[in-house]
């Protein structure tokens, strides 16, 4: 089964940045490389791999790898394992670095230097970047780099990752040939326990052993983590994020949709009626529009997440929500991805990257599609409008609104139930995962880091997920178009197509849950996106509607006359659970690095949807609503 793998490494020496989490390593990486970065995954794992290039003052071009943050060389997570494997030279497809830059947080030498000592023992050429040197100085911690270098036995330079000129001394160091050649002998025998004593001795000799309280951060924490003010502030922040993703994205999304429609009409008028026109307009342009329409939400959500992460608030939010999410076996980190899934599961699934624990991250991704996304609203609006009478409940509540709220709750309860079951009935779920989460000091986020972060999300989405969405949209177009109806056909064209035949075949499967063949046919193209089912129903009922809104208006009387109440409720239940969105599955494929998880997700969500619809339909029929 062994396959010969030939690794072609680009020429040029390779640097690796190593450091504790929150030491400002990525900010330093961003400052060194600017936009010259490539983001991918490490071979075989879903750990983000960031590589960049930069040029030294002497004109030497260097490759640099931003290794995941680690507390030690004993890995506790897949991220830390990658760091160790690369440093030990045993990572698949990775070259062992020629020079390691240990990034240490100058305000927290005690913990950071231990990793530097452990890395030094690997026998690789090593330098230390004393990061956040300015912040340390402002707190009264004065570190002499030369004295520290003498103690550590490796070169030390001060860096300030948030200032443009902050890496000049580091760049000059890379031009010193001696740095690349000098390595202390590899000595794996020395145990890490000795490092703590060694670090303490070094700090004592340098006069840095005093405990310095970081008062500015503590003062902010007194408010942010306050038992009453903290949660109120958090609720406000979460509301702001939700509002932004839900409402602020509306305008750019409408613009993208309008532009897609406009381009489609332009192409329609320029080309003769036929297959090519249909492929371009309904397949390619609609597919590309379907990819781009997600961008506003992704940009807005990531803007907030990056600002919160950079500032140091995100771990505090996770702290405040830990208890709540812990009840279903997740950690506080899962909350923001799930919250943003109410707007759309795709940015939510991408935001699950901020969850360090791989199991929690996977569970969060798996339940994210159960949050009622905005694409379900057109379907809910159509069915509620057609079947739920407009009347008031107890004088204050609107019955239609109560039903809508009930559907939101059904999704949340479903998600919590799935998480709860996974907690209690899987071995990984029963295992207690520790929190042990660092609350870094607060920083003002820099525009550069936020901008680079957003840009990386956009490219990842468009390149990796966009391709799959576009492909699936075109594939669905083929299914819904071929074969074309015979001459003199009286029924709508979709009925003669593969999608129509699949739908009709499926109607035997859907019959027990009360779906007629028209619904079954509409569900097939409706896989492209949830709201597409509305226009697909319009097509099946041969309505001449131009867009979804019109289709919904014309559909309302048709379905309220031909469907039973039981069927309508059953379809609502279906939409609470069913993954009627191939884009979501494409995003899951990208984020989990294979087809296994999206397939499991599709099977379990369709199963859950079928079960929910079956129960709803049978209960409704039993109540005489069939």
């Amino acid at each position: 089964m062994n396959q010969a793998v030939i690794h072609v490494h680009p020429s040029g020496p390779l640097l690796a940045l190593v450091g504790n989490p929150n030491c400002g390593k990525t900010a330093l990486f961003n400052l060194l490389t600017g936009s010259r970065q490539k983001v991918a995954n490490y071979a075989g794992v879903t750990v983000e791999r960031k590589e960049g290039r930069f040029t030294t003052p002497a004109g030497k071009t260097l490759r640099v790898l931003d290794l995941p943050g680690a507390y030690s060389l004993y890995p506790r997570s897949p991220d830390e394992r990658v760091t160790c494997d690369v440093l030990f030279g045993r990572a698949t497809g990775e070259k062992r670095p020629d020079l390691v830059v240990c990034v240490v947080d100058a305000t927290n030498l005690r913990r950071n230097l231990r990793l530097a000592l452990a890395v030094k023992r690997l026998g690789l050429p090593c330098v230390v970047a004393l990061n956040m040197a300015d912040l340390a100085e402002s707190r009264g911690i004065r570190i002499d780099p030369d004295a520290l270098a003498a103690e550590l036995g490796m070169p030390v330079v001060s860096t300030v990752a948030i200032k443009r000129a902050g890496v000049e001394s580091l760049l000059e160091l890379f031009d010193d040939q001696a740095v690349w050649r000098t390595a202390s002998p590899a000595s794996p025998s020395v145990h890490d326990a000795g490092d703590h004593v060694a670090v303490r001795n070094i700090l004592q000799r340098l006069g840095l052993d005093d405990v310095v309280p970081h008062t500015p951060s503590d003062r902010i924490d007194a408010v942010v983590l306050h038992p009453v003010v903290g949660p109120v502030l958090l609720a406000f922040v979460l509301f702001l994020i939700f509002q932004a993703v839900f409402a602020w994205a509306e305008v750019p999304m409408t613009m993208i949709e309008d532009a897609t429609t406009g381009l489609g009409q332009l192409v329609s008028s320029a080309l003769p009626d036929g297959m090519l026109r249909s492929l371009l307009v309904d397949g390619v342009i609609a597919g590309a529009g379907g990819v781009l329409v997600f961008l506003p939400q992704i940009v807005i959500l990531y803007f907030f997440i990056l600002v919160l992460e950079e500032s140091g608030y995100l771990p505090r939010a996770a702290f405040l929500l830990d208890r709540l999410m812990g009840s279903v076996g997740l950690s506080g980190r899962s909350f923001i991805p799930l919250l943003s899934s109410f707007a759309c599961a795709i940015p939510g699934i991408m935001a699950a990257r901020t969850i360090a624990n791989p199991r929690d991250r996977l569970v969060t991704i798996m339940i994210a599609p159960l949050m009622t996304c905005s694409a379900r609203l057109p379907v809910y609006a159509l069915l509620i409008g057609a079947f739920v009478p407009q009347r008031e409940l107890w004088g204050v509540l609107e019955l239609q609104g109560v039903v809508l709220l009930g559907l939101y709750f059904a999704g949340i309860v479903g998600a919590m139930a799935v998480a709860w079951i996974l907690k209690h009935f899987t071995s990984a779920g029963r295992q207690v995962r520790p929190l042990m989460m660092e609350l870094p000091s607060y920083h003002v986020p820099t525009v550069r880091n936020v901008a680079i972060g957003i840009w990386q999300r956009i490219t990842i989405f468009v390149k990796r997920v966009g391709g799959i969405i576009l492909f699936l949209t075109v594939a669905l177009w083929v299914l819904a178009t071929f074969p074309s109806p015979p001459d003199g056909a009286t029924e709508p064209a979709i009925e003669y197509s593969y999608a129509g035949r699949m739908g009709k075949a499926l109607s035997t499967v859907f019959e027990p849950i009360g779906f007629n063949w028209q619904i079954s046919v509409a569900l097939v193209p409706g896989l492209a996106a949830r709201e597409v089912a509305v226009s697909a129903l319009g097509t099946v009922y041969s309505l001449s509607a131009e867009d979804e809104e019109e289709a919904a208006k014309e559909l309302t009387p048709v379905i309220s006359q031909t469907w039973s109440l039981a069927t309508a409720f059953s379809l609502l239940a279906w939409y609470v659970f069913a993954p009627q969105c191939l884009a979501t599955l494409a995003a899951v494929k990208r984020e989990t690095g294979g087809w296994k998880m999206p397939i499991i997700m599709a099977v379990y969500l369709f199963g859950l949807a079928y079960l929910a619809s079956f129960l709803t339909y049978r209960a409704a029929v039993w109540l005489g609503l069939g």
Binding site: Y74, N108, R111, V211, L225, F319, R323, V432, E438
Partner: protein, 99 residues
């Protein structure tokens, strides 16, 4: 388990907010022996000064803990692995033990 330890006042989860303490030893639970190493890696080593900063509401779990120069959020079960004593106690102990 943790309530019992907390009552004795010997572990970090039962500490008073704002009191400077010293780590005496780390004792990982039987079900998660790796916690001991992990806690040491993030700075909870014998002799290190620690302080309980805040408790989350409701339920007082998780906790905010200052260790050395960093701040960590720990759940009570994790903090219960860390035996602590008021600062003076350790100084006396150190005097008595050979350096």
């Amino acid at each position: 388990m943790r309530g019992e330890k907390g009552k004795r006042g010997g572990t970090l989860d039962g500490a008073t907010i704002g009191q400077v303490l010293t780590v005496q030893c780390i004792e990982a639970p039987a079900g998660a022996p790796e916690w001991g190493r992990w806690l040491e890696e993030i700075g909870f080593v014998v002799g290190e000064r620690v302080m309980l900063m805040a408790r989350a509401l409701p339920g007082g779990d998780p906790l905010v803990v200052r260790v050395g120069q960093s701040t960590f959020a720990l759940r009570c079960a994790e903090a219960a692995c860390i035996a602590v004593s008021p600062e003076q106690a350790l100084e006396l102990q150190l005097e008595g033990s050979p350096a």
